[in-house]
Amino acid sequence: MKMSFNGPTEGVLLIHLSGEWRIGGDLPPVKEIQNQLMSEIDIRKVAFDAKDLTQWDSSLLILLKKIKTLCSENSIFMDHEGLPKGAKRLLELATAVPEISDAKKVKEHETFLYLVGAETVHFFRSAREMIAFIGGAFLAFIRFFKGKARYRRTDLTMAIQECGAQALPIVSLISLLVGLILAFVGAIQLKMFGAQIYIANLVGIAMVRVMGAVMTGTIMAGRTGAAFAAQIGTMEVNEEIDALKTLGISPMEYLVLPRMLALVLMMPLLCLYADLMGILGGSIVAVGMFDINMFQYYIQTKGAVSLNDFWIGLFTSAVFGVLVALAGCLRGMQCGRSASDVGNAATSAVVTSIVSIIVATAVITIMCNVIGI
C-alpha cells in the first residue's frame, strides 16, 4: 500500500499508487492528500498513476472516495483515467447517488440531562397514546352495548375459547400448587400452636380474596396478553390492519373489542376455578400430612370464607381481565413493522400487564380496607 505524489505541475497533482492494497493493511493517511490539496500552489486537477498497483480491493476505493470528496470540496477536477478499470467503475457506482444529508439520523450527544429529557418526552407520549387507546376501547364498548359495534361473532367465540377452556390446564396446575404451598408454609407455623385446622382458613381466604385472581391474572398476562400482542403485531407487520382501516372498519372494534370481551367474561370464571383448585391443593396438604379429614376441612373453609371475599376476588379478576386485554392489544397496535418489533410487543405486553396487575391489587386492597370489607 504505497502512495506518493508527483507535482503539482501545471496545476495537475499526480498520485502514484503502487503495491498490494488489501483490507486490513495500513491505509495511507488522507491528511497527506489534504495537505497537498490545501497547499498554496494552485491545483486544478488530480490524476492517478496505478501502473505499479499489483492487487487492490475495497481499501483502495475507500481512499479514492475520500479523495473525491476532498476534490469536490475544493472544486478540483478528479481524473479517473489512470485508475484500474474496475476501480473506476466501482468509484462511479459509489458516487453516483449523492448523499441525502438530512436523511441521516442526527445523533445527539447523549448527556445525562438529554437522556432524562428524552425519557420524559417518551413517557408522556406513551401516556397520551395509552389514554387515547383506553378512550377508544371505551367508545368501542359503548358501541357494543348499543349493538352498533362491527366485529365477527366467530372471533369472539374463538377468543373466549382461547381465554377460557384452553387456559384451564395451566390454571389448574398453578392454582393447585399455590394452594399447596400456602398450606404447607402456614401449617408448619400453625402446628407449633396446635392450630393446624386453621390451614383451611389461611388457604381459603388467601385464595378466594386475592391469590386466585392474582395468579389467574399473571397466567393470563403471560399466556393470553402476549398472544394478543403477537397476533395484532403480526397483523400490523402484514398490513392486515391497514387493509381493515381502508375498508372503513375500526381495528378497535374489530380486533380489540372481542379480545377484551372474552377476557372480561372468562377471567372471573377462571378465577373461581382457580379458587377451588387452590382450596383443593390446601386440602391435600391438610388431609395428607396433618390428620385433618376432608369434611372438617370443608366445614372450616365454609366458615372462614365470606361471600364478600368471593365478590372482591371476582371483581379483582374482572379488572385484571380488562388490564391484560388492554395491555396486550395496546402493545400489539403500537407494534412496528419488523419481526423483532412483534417480539418486543409481546414482551412489553407481559411486563405492562404484570405491573398493572400488581398496582391494581394494591389499590383494591387499600380501597377494601378503607371501606371496611
Binding site: E239, D242, T246, L247
Partner: protein, 262 residues
Amino acid sequence: MAHPQQTTKPAPYITIRDLTMAYDSFVVMKDLNFTIDRGDVFIIMGGSGCGKSTLMKIMVGLKEPAKGQIFYNDLSFWEADLSDRMNIMKHIGILYQYGALWSSMTLAENVAFPLEEYTDLGHNEIWELVSLKLAMVGLSGFEDFYPSEISGGMRKRAALARAIALDPDILFFDEPSAGLDPVSAKRLDDLILELRDSLGATIIVVTHELASIFAIGNNSVFLDPETRTMIAQGNPKMLLENTQDPKVLNFLMRGDTKGHIS
C-alpha cells in the same frame, strides 16, 4: 372547501395539489401536482425508497399529508368530514404489496368480508359473488384455503379478488409484480387491463417494473429522490421517446442510455 381549477377538458377524477409528504421532520416528497383522469391506468414510478408507497398511503387515507390536498372529483379528501371520507374509501380497492389477506380467515371469507360489511346481500348471493371473484383471478376451488396454505402469487391474486369484491371505482396496486415470476406478472398485468376495461375502474399502480409500466400505463408520474419532487408526468411510452431529463431516461431504459443522451 377549495375546489380544483376548472378546465375546458372534463374535470380530472383525482387531483393532487401541492402535496408534501414527510415522516416527522424528514420531507420525503414536496410540491407534487398532477391529475388522474377517469379510466386511466396511472403509474406512480421512481426508484426504491423515493416515496411511491407513502404517496399511495396518503391517497387512500392511511397517512396524513404534511401539506397539500387530494381531490376525488371535487371533494378534498383530507378536509372532508369522516363520513364523506369513508364514502370515498368505500369506492377504493387496494392490492397491498404482500396481499395483506386476513390470516385468520379463509380466502372465501376474506373476499366475503367487504360484501358482508357494505351490502345487504343474503348469504347465498354473497357466496356466489365470492366464487365469481375468486374465479376471475383463477382461484376457483381454493375457497376454503387459508392464506398461509397458498403461494405468494396466489395470495396476491386472492387479495385482488378481495380488492374488487365491491366493484370499486378506483383500484390501487402497490408493487403488483413484486415477488412474482414473469409469467404470473404478465397475467396480473393482463388482469389489471381487463379490470379497467370491464369494471371501468381507474387504476393507480405503484411500481418500478419497467415491463409493467410500458405494458399497462397510459399516464404516469416520476418521483425523483434527489430533488424530492416529481420531475416528469405523462404516458410512459411518450416519456421514453420525448423526455430530455437524463434521470427519467436512465430509469426508463434501465440505466442503458448509450446513444440516447446527446
